[in-house]
Symmetry: C2
Subunit: 408 residues, 2 copies
Amino acid sequence: MTISPFAPARFPTLPPLAGFTMATAEAGVKYKGRTDLWVLRGQPGTQVAGVFTKNKCPGAPVDWSREALSAHTEGPRIVVVNSGTANVFAGQAGRDAVAETAKGAADVFGSDVGSIHLASTGVIGVALEASKLVDQFPNMTLDGDGWEAAARAIMTTDTHPKGATATAKIGNTTVTINGIAKGSGMIAPDMATMLAYVATDAKLSQNVLQDLLDADVGPTFNSITVDSDTSTSDTLLLLASGAAEHSEISDTSDAALTDFRRALHDVLFDLSQQIVKDGEGISKFVTIKVSGAVSDASAHKIGMSVANSPLVKTAIAGEDANWGRIVMAVGKAGEPADRDTLSIWIGPHVLAEGGQLATSYKEEYGASYMKQDEIVIRLDLGLGEGTATVYTCDLTHSYIDINADYRS
Amino acid sequence: MTISPFAPARFPTLPPLAGFTMATAEAGVKYKGRTDLWVLRGQPGTQVAGVFTKNKCPGAPVDWSREALSAHTEGPRIVVVNSGTANVFAGQAGRDAVAETAKGAADVFGSDVGSIHLASTGVIGVALEASKLVDQFPNMTLDGDGWEAAARAIMTTDTHPKGATATAKIGNTTVTINGIAKGSGMIAPDMATMLAYVATDAKLSQNVLQDLLDADVGPTFNSITVDSDTSTSDTLLLLASGAAEHSEISDTSDAALTDFRRALHDVLFDLSQQIVKDGEGISKFVTIKVSGAVSDASAHKIGMSVANSPLVKTAIAGEDANWGRIVMAVGKAGEPADRDTLSIWIGPHVLAEGGQLATSYKEEYGASYMKQDEIVIRLDLGLGEGTATVYTCDLTHSYIDINADYRS
């Protein structure tokens, strides 16, 4: 598989995080000769926040993990993730597999089933063989180092492992945030995307953790799209071990959170960008900045309409500054728009304004600009103050290759 | 260009229609060595009904033709259609081109500008050079035969001309309905699709004509999608010359319309099917039948969510009966759905039921069925009485080829 041209040169250095240990294994769920199982342990007292797919046909692991989020326990929190099957639409066998995996993990890692957070990613419609995971648990020695190995174990069509890290000051204490994510196709998160796990040693109450996550998922994971297809497995968990020295923060409006908020955004943004930049078949990374819409929500919908248009995406793949298709995609969004107040830029060039091609625009500007790997399209609706930025990739032959025979 | 494997063996025989004459010409708007201009004349008294794109950034010809629909006139109705440029998002130059074309047509063909119905199809963002059309008008000799030539003149990425005809009894009089259409990409009609012209010699009032059209556009043109991209130019006109012998019908509930309604549906359905079966890059024609939804509207949205899913479409291209992606697309539609009451069939085979793969299903059933050219996917939501049927095609390498360099 060709590595995405937008892959980072190397996996970032994610330091061990106080309160967390982990391990990976080769469970052989589907793939051979690679790891496909990750277990993360958060020490007793670890708080967990999460957001999940809004797809109406979620996988059994999503149902389970939604409930686990509110489970109260004194034991450690255990996260178990496998790749190879998504264990979605697998009926009673899928639900049994989830229960069996949770029981196995609770027994081996010394917790209770209500504290087990599960996720599976891969083919839909095939039940997980839980015994393959459970059999591995006793062989897994959890320790503090292993974020890159974890990021590799949860990959499916990803061309590289994805990780990010940041530090923040809470009072005089420096805390760390580590995150890993996977995802490449079926990416149009409507809550969170595919699988992402972010952990910190900060000492935060569950409500603060959930508030911080909810506030930042909009401009990060919910603003990327590869193919408009919202996964049945999207899961984003944020775990806080509380191992850091500062006193617990239990009020989201606490000023001590300012720097942490910034660092959390950096990690979430970085991970979500890595996902879209590893979009199936990507040759161009595209940023779409919308302003002048009647509201931020309207701007987001218009941006997504452009980002998901097959005709816009194929034009970009063909290095064609096809403003006509952008106009079409703005107009089909179902949001207030006026052809005659709409302005469009590609990179530094005004492409269209006043309902027509800009008089200053020359085809050679577009032809030259579109050869770049990273394309910025800016739209101003000229109607109001609403803004949004969304991120996508082009639609290429490789997307067809990957998805016309992914199962085989 | 490869002809769609679903193209009819030959263009149907469309008889001359009393009250209508027409001609085509080579105006050289963009294409060389082929016709690109069609003029249709409906005798004085001809009634016209129409539906247009709901895209918020419509072309200048759409704006013009919307107004012309309500223009009252004693003169003949003149329809002027060109291919090569859509004259959309071309600002004042585009509006001027529309006015100039209408004036030229009115002068040459002996009508008034308010009776000229215009449409342009092709590249967006380039103004029509009206003089190219106007210069041809004096050379065009309108006569009664020429439907196939007309269907050819309005083609863009279409691989074959599209026409349909039917007859109906109104009282003791036999009337004829002829229709032509064009369209292949940017097809997700939200009212009508691209360009379609249907004409009859029946004697119907304008309100009856519009009622009949509005009633039938839902299950025909509004139920097809190639790529989810709603064109800025969608136009469907229905013209009635009134040359037939029966007395005028001015009440939509008149029982004498029963057979005409059936025949009109046959023509609209046939044309819309020809468009989706000539979808850009098509290798498989796909019918999606939805039942058991909470309402017909909900069933339609769910059907369209499946029909527009890039992952479903690429799986079909790969001859993969990938029920998991179908489940995903049902769940992402935003409509009421329940994984555990959802049933899915491909052709005669129950694929999934009760929230899992059907126990009777074998992979070889799907493998064998998916090799067919025409695929039927049936979904039952198990929630209510809502039904809908939508039509689409698969997503192939050819779609990328066509659209990554359509402008060049």
